[in-house]
Amino acid sequence: LDPIIGFMNGLALALDPTNIMYLFIGVMVGNFVGVLPGLGPVTGVALLIPFTYGMEPTSALILLSAIYYGSMYGNSISAVLLNMPGTPAAIMTAMEGYPLARQGRAGPALAMAAFASFFAGTVGAAGLLFLTPTLSQFALRLGPPEEFALFLAAFTLVATLSGSFVKGVAMTTLGVTLATIGPEPMVAASRMTFGSPLFEVGLNFVAASIGLFAIPSAIEAMERPTKYVLHRASLRMRDLLPTRKDLRESATAFPLGSVIGFFGSVMPGIGPTESSLMAYALQKRFSRRPELYGKGSMEGLTSVEAANNASSVGGMIPMLSFGIPSSATTAVLMGAMLIHGLQPGPMLMAVNPNVVFAVIASMYLGNLMLLLLNLPLIRIWVACLRLPQNLIVSGVVVLSATGVYAAANSVNAVLVMFGFGILGYILNKLRFPVAPIILALILTGPLEAALGKSLAMSGGDWSIFVSRPIAMSLIALAALSVLLQLPILRWIRSRRTGRASRG
């Protein structure tokens, strides 16, 4: 399908009054969860899934995607005014934005963040529009062995790029283990249920994602409330506008941040956080005024905001084209798609192209909406920062439990959420990455199915994975990503570096 024609069809669908309403709700809710410290896009998307059950799949996806990129806009507000990044992706925004706020330049910093987000979101949507159909067509040619190798590569990349190699691998394995509860994908035979009806249909994905993300953030805020001081800033419209100098100095940051954010997030395991760090480092290297970084650089702030917004859009590519989520939020989005009867991956473009194009078109409209509404409504967002924190966290706990009950119509699902809530809390305390678990929960079924089909094709001969070039390359990539992280290799490398520096 021609992307332009597809886009026009998608635009017509996205402009439907109902979809426009959901888009508006999505960007507003996204902005709200982004503004509130402690809540992030993944919590926002997970919490809202139960509310989308009665909706058309297209409307649901438009709403949930809008929450994702909308929260990236909201994040910058708490980062600049409170020095409190709502998510790790906004750490650099806080590092540059808060000093700017202390210099009396909070308004221009927020405006530049909004412009950068709009620019990157629009560029990202264009990339998504042209790349998704091409990659989907390529993915359609892949057989089960290539699919298996692709899933395996996604697993290893996510495990090895999660910070700590040991912890990343442990959490991926834990996710795979837990995903074996319930029906087996090939013949749907029930297994590992321990005779409990709780596990008979497998682990409820919505319950698991709300348990892993929403419950721990609320409980942690109850344990130790976040203390912050709201930086007083003039938020009149005329004080929000950046100067020509700001725009001139940041001219390269818009495209550089957008390109790094977009292409970086195409690889599983690299999300908005990693992309924004890469963009920041690169922008600083090429900057004419690197001494300003860390003290309030408008250029640095613009680059980071462009990168994290482009990344939230670019992260959709592996999900829509290959059925592989690149981050925790896209994994939750993918779960939502499955609940709505949409199979993420190449078949989605073949069977439901209008859904994909409508979501892409809605991203243009959503980004425009955010730009037009964000700055005039800045006082409302700042007022949200004054909402009592204890009311929000208590509300999140009750909303999570009732939302999961509403989605599954069963107390068992709420008990699953409860279990994952405890697990998420412990993992956060011990600084284990949570994203690999959710990715494994969603990818293990397709991985096992692809493995079964591949071995059925080859009559049980495992060499099928190394006799086909694409499968072999992907397995080599997976092996390489693990080998490079092996402690013994790191140790040899560090000894060599140490010897070289001494010599």
Partner: protein
């Protein structure tokens, strides 16, 4: 022997190290238990290339190995002293955490037994108290408003079948 966890080296507190050791042992035990349980799965469909016990068995073994490496890497690390102003686990904080989890469990178990509005009202009041709201008028107002809002959203707007939906 090389440090297994380069990222975590020298950035772990005493309490985190102890808890990670316990957690690693838990993963190791869970993995072995999983593999053992997987051997009990009936595999009647012999025509399948991989039987239903294949993945649970190997995933369990993998988890046991990962748990072992978590244990070793935590053991190798040199822990830092706890920050007295910001300890990883403090008694008051932990009491709040487990009180909140306890309240959530009770709320879940009673969800189909007690009228949704009253149960939510009580749950909001308890969680607000746990989250440091003072006992007083504001607590009542906040709980009541939240319960009304939740009731309107779930029972009225979404028609979730919970006890109480038919009463008002």
């Amino acid at each position: 022997m090389p440090d297994l966890d380069e990222e975590g080296a020298n950035s772990i507190t005493r309490q985190q190290r102890a808890a990670t050791l316990v957690f690693g042992a838990g993963l190791l035990g869970l993995g072995l238990f999983w593999s053992w349980e997987a051997t009990k799965i009936q595999t009647r469909n012999t025509y399948q290339a991989i039987t239903p016990d294949f993945l649970p068995f190997w995933a369990g073994l993998g988890l046991a190995a990962a748990g072992f490496f978590v244990l070793v890497s935590a053991w190798q690390q040199h822990p830092l002293d706890e920050d007295p102003n910001d300890p990883t686990f403090d008694l008051r904080g932990q009491l709040r955490v487990w009180a909140a989890f306890g309240a959530l469990l009770v709320y879940t178990l009673l969800l189909e037994q007690i009228h949704y509005f009253f149960l939510t009202l009580a749950m909001m009041a308890i969680t607000l108290l746990i989250a440091r709201e003072r006992l007083g008028l504001w607590l009542a107002v906040k709980s009541l408003l939240s319960a009304v809002l939740m009731y309107l959203i779930f029972i009225r707007a979404f028609g979730v079948p919970l006890p109480g939906s038919v009463y008002f």
